[in-house]
């Protein structure tokens, strides 16, 4: 029997790249994306693209010029966002997105600084930075994409993994309960706390655009399906099935106590805008308590010298 094999052709990188370049500009969102970077590396069924689309929609809705918008992200799947957006973006070291963004926000107060990072980056290694930035009320907009595990490194257990959930490092079930992120951010002093899933893209876009308008530390949690890292070991199915799960198992409750927003495996959880207040942000407090007092002291000294 003669077996005819298909002739193998070498991968033509140039042709593939020209194809990708040719596609750029077809979509109206492409002017916010770096040319030649889409298609992104995220898995089919991943919710990160949805969060990125809603963020672009929120920026467009608020008419923030691209020059005045900057995005800082940490390490992980979500950290790739900085590489895809055609703005002033920075891909920092693991967990240090908020310190970098704090410096950026203090150096240029007119700039809208968004921290776009994952749960493993913001709450595992960068947990302290987040609570202190929230306590100081630095003018930062934090978007935390929560997929309940460390996705990029192979689905290890993260501080947000619910109790009894299986991951690659907890094959018999997680023994630790996960963080309740909105409650934590609220307790640390964030002025705006919201949680939505990727099944609620309109509400998420509205929430992000509200957060971009606010002054102070805002926190938006976006729950995203992770079919490879979290869905597969927990038998949650593909990304689409996880989206159906979010449709059936979420309850929109705006203004609810964030204490109730705990997530347990395969149980109903609440989404919505939990907290929305105003309080003086870091620069305002610093100007009032340090800068103005030092200036008045210096004036007194100068007067003394003149006399």
């Amino acid at each position: 029997m003669k077996i005819r094999l298909r002739e193998l052709s070498h991968f033509d990188k140039e042709a593939a790249e020209t194809l990708i370049q040719k596609d750029h500009g077809l979509h109206p969102d492409d002017k916010y994306l770096k040319p030649g970077r889409i298609p992104h590396i995220w898995c089919p069924g991943c919710g990160l693209g949805v969060v990125l689309t809603t963020f672009i929609e929120a920026v467009r809705r608020n008419r923030i010029p691209i020059d005045m918008c900057s995005v800082v992200s940490g390490i992980g799947c979500t950290g790739r966002v900085a590489g895809y957006l055609d703005m002033d973006t920075y891909h920092t070291t693991h967990g240090r997105a908020i310190p970098f963004a704090t410096g950026l926000a203090l150096a240029n107060p007119q700039m809208s600084v968004t921290v776009f990072s994952g749960d493993g980056d913001l709450f595992a290694i960068g947990g302290n930075h987040l609570i202190h930035a929230a306590r100081r009320n630095v003018n930062l907009k934090v978007i935390c994409v929560n997929n309940f595990n460390f996705g990029m490194t192979g689905g290890q257990v993260a501080p947000t993994t619910p109790l009894e959930a299986k991951t690659s490092t907890t094959p018999t079930g997680n023994a630790e309960p996960g963080f309740n992120l909105p409650y934590l951010a609220h307790a640390a002093g964030a002025v705006y706390v919201a949680r939505w899933t990727t099944f609620h893209p309109r509400q998420l876009a509205h929430s992000i655009s509200q957060a971009l308008n606010k002054k102070g530390f805002t926190f938006v949690e976006a729950i995203a399906p992770c079919p490879t890292g979290y869905g597969r070991p927990n038998k949650l199915g593909s990304g689409l099935e996880e989206m159906r799960f979010y449709r059936d198992m979420t309850e929109v409750r705006n203004g609810a106590d964030p204490k109730l927003a705990e997530i347990r495996l395969r149980e109903k959880f609440i989404v919505g805008t939990f907290h929305d207040t105003d309080r003086p942000d870091f620069l305002e407090n610093y100007d009032r308590n340090v800068v103005s007092r030092v200036k008045s002291k210096q004036k007194g000294k100068e007067k003394g010298k003149a006399a």
């Binding site: 077809l26 969102d29 889409i38 298609p39 919710g47 693209g49 949805v50 990125l52 990304g239």
Partner: protein
């Protein structure tokens, strides 16, 4: 059920009609747009794209697209978007169509 007249404020409103544009080479076949399109305008096609996924395609009732933009918002791949084609006036046929669509007789309501 049959409506015997148009709504009184029918002239103040219009039905937007959109065109769905699909950039097929970007699609990774997650199926979010097909599942969550409120009017059920999309279905999975049988052909393959460059990556080997089945991209979505418009079904026969393509004029049902009301340019809500949910598909472009929910697509993680920046592969689908809608454009406003025209905004047409409300006629009695439209009212009838909408009532049958959301009644149980329509087959597409069973899909969801």
């Amino acid at each position: 059920m049959k409506f015997w007249r148009l709504p009184l404020d029918a002239e103040a409103h219009s039905i937007p009609q959109g065109t769905v544009n699909i950039i097929e080479s970007r699609c990774k076949g997650c199926g979010f747009c097909i599942e969550f399109c409120p009017n059920g305008c999309l279905k999975q096609s049988k052909r393959f794209n460059v990556k080997g996924y089945h991209p979505p395609e418009l079904i026969f009732h393509a004029e049902d697209c009301v340019e809500c933009g949910l598909c472009s918002l929910i697509c993680p791949e920046f592969a689908i978007f809608t454009e406003l084609k025209e905004a047409k006036k409300i006629t009695e046929d439209d009212i009838q169509k909408v009532t049958t669509r959301y009644s149980r007789r329509d087959r597409r309501s069973f899909k969801r």
